[in-house]
């Protein structure tokens, strides 16, 4: 079943602005991951935040995790046209399979 739910479904901003995407999930997780997908391509891993972490940074990316609210956010600062893509959160549940439950994604368009 789909566990992660992102919002907004679509986001259009100007270059240089910040983009914030949110994700909610339903069960206990080992970690929460964010992926990027360019149109018609495979997914690329961006960042992973563990269940005992609250915030993580990687370059222009900032991820927060609130396990009490079962939610996460991805912030992309100083966006570029090349950031245009779909972004998915994925919740990794505890257990041996390491399987991920993906949300439906946020389609981000950065206008030059």
């Amino acid at each position: 079943s789909q566990q992660g739910e992102e919002d907004p479904q679509a986001l259009s901003i100007q270059e240089g602005e910040n983009a914030t995407m949110n994700c909610s999930y339903k069960t206990s997780i080992n970690n929460l991951q964010w992926y990027r997908q360019n149109s018609g391509r495979g997914l690329v891993h961006l960042i992973l935040i563990r269940s005992n972490e609250r915030e993580k940074h990687s370059g222009r990316l900032r991820v927060t995790l609130d396990t009490s609210k079962k939610s996460s956010s991805l912030l992309i600062t100083a966006s570029r046209a090349a950031d245009t893509a779909s972004y998915f959160c994925a919740a990794q549940e505890w257990g041996g399979s390491e399987k991920l439950v993906f949300g439906k994604g946020t389609k981000l368009t950065v206008n030059p």
Partner: protein, 111 residues
Amino acid sequence: SQTIHQWPATLVQPVGSPLSLECTVEGTSNPNLYWYRQAAGRGLQLLFYSVGIGQISSEVPQNLSASRPQDRQFILSSKKLLLSDSGFYLCAWTKTAREQYFGPGTRLTVT
């Protein structure tokens, strides 16, 4: 370095025909392997995963099956395709409880 291959890249098949999509991973051993399907404009739905040769777990009962005949080979099959099987099929692997690495995907259109 590790790489993951999927083929074919695109496929157009008539309803009722069989299907075989292949995924292979190089540069690692005993990975966990996954098959996902992505409908147009939607998120990924986990179809099958495998933690070892011959070990297949099905997430969604449907018209598809999976097999892992070798350590780094994962095959998605169907005996008779349905229109609803159309979509973008992605294979992925992971070694630890961390990120998954995705293949380039196969675009399947059932006509």
